[in-house]
Symmetry: C2
Subunit: 328 residues, 2 copies
């Protein structure tokens, strides 16, 4: 039985989901839903309609799971509770502080409709959250560390782009190797923001712009850069396009814990991602959880769920016999 | 509500479980069950009885979960299906090829008794299996790699100890750094047994023993060493005790996969363990799954389960509100 997928929103993440569907033979793209005029949206899959969001309800019985590819700031807090009234949904809501509120809004709507909504799916939150939870359940005494990068932070890149005289910018977050090594060695260091990550910016400046001023504005920008050691490189528009058009990312979740009568034994659990394409990897996670959503709802499960609430077997295209024979 | 635990078998693993219970405030050790004469078994916890295995059924209503700390070769295939007739059980059955048979034996007995049995819990099988499953569900096109070590292999150490003239031995399995780097770089190498791991032996020889002969016997031993590059070091009994009395282990599970319309993007998912004490870490995993077994059975779930079948939230001592607020 094929899982019929709808993609709601066709940006980088929606395009990633479209590609991920092609890599999961038991899934099928039914429609791309867009808030734009559908005639202006060209998708990569043949014979699949682009549908105006005004008409989304017409797909109520044609889609098993809607994957909502909107932004966490303003889109998802509205879209997910609204869409779960008619669809099983997956989102990648990533504003950590607002997850409990989002959970409760989605849960209420989903319980009323009998649908399931799995929120905050992706890698952080998502796979990194799972790494944190599993390792905390095993090593109850210890310290958690999350490092991000090396990778492009879109929020920080946008912040630099808003500076006068900046035509384009790309910001990489980079873990500090010494901090990482101290953690891996089980030293449980207390690390300040500055000690954990550095920030590296590539900037295309307008002709005649004051580069020293731009560099100073970046390095002193509160919240974004002031607490970090930041390096700024000015490059040409051609170099930007040639060397920085990808969206790589990744990072590490490490738990360092102790066991034994006198805490004499140290254990390190490390989960690491190195991703060429942040949106395509996130999309690949979304599809696996969409499969789980379809199965769980078919079993009668409804309400809001997170990656913590899904038994891993539900994510696999393979049968239970196959996974216990070949992966356990 | 505290989870009442019984430990069945008091070797290295049973002792590890006893320590792990002290690190999980919501668990409580009720009894250690032994096949030995209980008066000969000294445990590390005060006011807890050591009970003969003949009397185990007397504890049927006093224990929520029995953690079976027996060997996979002959103990667990009998013990787990037998004990699940009266108890929720956890085991660390690790003979990968026989897991489906063990699963079906435990499942039959558990469904009859209404109890739950979670099998093959630990790190491999166990946490490594979870790393394999999650990463395969996300990256459907790719290659899997599992490396073990650096760590002590007890089976290989025992094999060396059986050679004439060997008084004591310790064998370390070590991943080959070049192989690891090629995998991490996304090169998807095809690796032979010899290319993945080396074996390092520390041997205490009897006085007057023919060391060259011992070394040759080790290096040419079929299945255990012949397919590997093996190094043999002869040391004194004092050095053995001083430098090799721990049971460190660990390893890595890596999946290297591709996404994108033309497979143009490579992603690496790496799960790594570095453990000072193999039995204490395994025991820490067992306790987390014991908590899940107690909860699931209280909800009416019975039958055989594996790490794949348990939603991660069941492993945590913390409330759902707490984990979605602080770990997601």
């Amino acid at each position: 039985m094929s899982v019929k997928i709808g993609i709601y929103g066709y940006g980088n993440l929606g395009k990633g989901v479209e590609q991920a569907i092609k890599k999961n033979k038991d899934t099928e793209l039914v429609a791309v839903i867009s808030r734009r005029d559908p005639s202006t949206v060209k998708i990569a899959t043949e014979n699949v309609p682009v549908v105006s969001s005004d008409l989304v309800k017409e797909y109520k019985d044609k889609i098993d799971v809607m994957i909502i590819c909107g932004g966490s700031a303003t889109d998802l807090p509205k879209m997910t509770p609204e869409l779960v009234k008619n669809f099983n949904v997956i989102d990648s809501f990533d504003t950590h502080a607002n997850i409990p509120t989002h959970f409760s809004n989605v849960d209420k709507a989903a319980k009323e409709s009998g649908k399931i909504g799995i929120i905050s799916v992706g890698w952080d939150p998502g796979m990194f959250s799972l790494a944190r939870l599993y390792s905390n359940c095993i090593l109850t005494e210890g310290e958690d560390y999350t490092f991000w990068g090396k990778g492009v932070s879109q929020g920080h890149s946008d912040a630099v782009r808003r500076i006068d005289g900046v035509l384009d910018a790309r910001q990489y977050t980079v873990p500090v190797p010494e901090a990482l090594e101290a953690v891996r060695a089980g030293k449980n260091p207390q690390l300040s923001t500055r000690e954990k990550h550095t920030r590296v910016c590539y900037v295309v400046a307008a002709e005649g712009a004051d580069k020293a001023k731009i560099e100073n504005k970046i390095k002193t920008m509160p919240n974004y850069f002031a607490d970090y050691d930041t390096t700024v490189h000015f490059i040409s528009a051609e170099e930007m396009k040639r060397d920085h058009s990808g969206l790589p990312h990744g990072g590490l979740v490490i738990r360092s814990g102790k066991t034994g009568a006198n805490n004499e034994n140290t254990h390190i659990i490390e989960y690491r991602l190195k991703l060429d394409s942040n949106p395509e990897f996130t999309a690949s996670v979304l599809i696996a959880f969409a499969r789980a959503a379809a199965r769980l709802n078919a079993e009668g499960v409804s309400g809001c769920k997170t990656v913590f609430d899904i038994a891993p077997a539900y994510l696999s295209e393979k049968s239970h016999e196959e996974i216990i024979s070949h992966m356990l």
